[in-house]
Symmetry: C2
């Protein structure tokens, strides 16, 4: 169907994302859409707390168009507590402000946070509430954070399947399709601020000595300008040591010389 790739092989499959937990979903069709969205994004594990319709559901299977493997393996729970108890981190998606002190993050930042935690995706749960009013406050209170899906602020209403699709897509996007820019630190880690400030100080001392910073009024701006050059280079400890070596070897002797 629209804009999809049919030629792929199983070995290209993304590794499964977090557990999707639907709390008291009201319509079986929506669970079918959720299964499909999960499969689109390589998610495997679905848990349902007190579905408001018979389970297993033929309607859900009909809507899932091929993603019924997720429905077959879905586990049903009587309480949210039971559905999350083996997990290490859970996040609530909610539209309403809960008057609770709780971190609220976009789905983009939630994914980043989960990846930084260095726990298995299968130990993380993403909770979605019932279609009519979302999660109840007790469920939200149990969560480690609240996910906000960033959309047009004047019209951000999503149905359940679309909400799962957009959150799961962010996971796939960050882990599989489009991993974030990374700096490879081949030799050593990033230089500490202390190491950098020490280098800047030593460089400026030499530049004072050779007269490059002789115009007093310009000195602060020049210093900032030069520090920024090195700041942008995201220096490692080894690179700072190299730069120290250069400064040491260059013999400063008063100013002058033309380019």
């Amino acid at each position: 169907m629209a804009g999809t790739n049919r030629k792929a092989k199983a070995k290209d499959k993304p590794t499964p994302g977090p557990v999707i937990i639907l709390v008291e979903p009201q319509m079986a069709e929506n669970v079918g859409h959720v299964a499909r969205a999960m499969m689109n994004c390589g998610f495997a594990e679905l848990r349902i707390v007190k579905p408001r319709f018979d389970w297993p559901s033929r309607k859900a299977v009909a809507v899932s168009s091929g993603a019924d493997v997720i429905l077959e393996k879905a586990k049903i729970f009587k309480t949210t507590e039971a559905a999350v108890k083996d997990l290490k981190r859970i996040y609530a998606t909610t539209a309403r402000w809960r008057n609770m002190s709780k971190p609220v993050m976009t789905s983009i930042d939630t994914v980043k946070e989960i990846l930084k935690l260095k726990i298995k995706p299968q130990q993380v749960g993403l909770l979605f509430g019932k279609e009519s009013k979302g999660l109840d406050n007790d469920d939200v209170a149990m969560c480690d954070g609240i996910i906000s899906i960033p959309l047009n602020p004047t019209y951000s209403s999503l149905n359940l399947g679309q909400a799962v699709l957009l959150v799961a897509y962010e996971w796939l996007r960050a882990t599989y399709i489009h991993p974030p820019r990374q700096l490879h630190l081949r030799d050593s880690g990033f230089a500490s601020k202390d190491e950098l400030l020490n280098f800047y100080g030593r460089l400026e001392e030499k530049l004072d000595a050779c007269g490059f910073l002789r115009v007093k009024e310009k000195r602060p701006r020049m210093v900032r300008h030069i520090r920024n050059i090195f700041q942008k280079a995201e220096l490692t400890t080894q690179e700072v040591n190299t730069l120290h070596g250069i400064i040491t070897n260059i013999n400063i002797k008063g100013a002058k010389g033309k380019r």
Copy 2:
């Protein structure tokens, strides 16, 4: 509903994205879902080529839950040519390989390309074909590029509303929610490679003169290492000039000195 923000004001509204063009959609409900996805992502203009149902459609309005303003303003066309003739750039979403020489890009890269073109979003069209078989080859041939929505390669089937949602979301994400990392070039543009190589050459000359690069076997690696420090700094022309100034002022006199 799930994970959305209801407190926003109209002034926070994103500026409209490209034109969405549905070619021969078969089900009115799907057009309702498309309107909703468009509104979620701040898109405003919908064009429909030969809908296979009566238009205007009550069913579409019912499904659109509040996004019916997009349906009211939608324009109907008899041919794809007529629907695209005022546009400057059009992209096809398609799943099937068309045996056509045509750039295929992810939705992520398509958005980047459109933003680089520096034409108005309203001069760009995104084409979605009929639910059963997508766009026909004549329509694809007219397009400037093919959009592939990056998903789980072993299950990437999307319905029309979801396909529009994911492409429109990428637009919103890149332009409104999460603009890409940008380097502010306050003073001058990026230095040319020529300016950089010239600076590197001059620096290495000085480092040869002062003896820093005296160990012959290590020289090539040291040179690469030092060049990379400055390479990472994404230097502007003005910054390269500052660095030249530093080199000029430092008076090289044989090696030595300890840190």
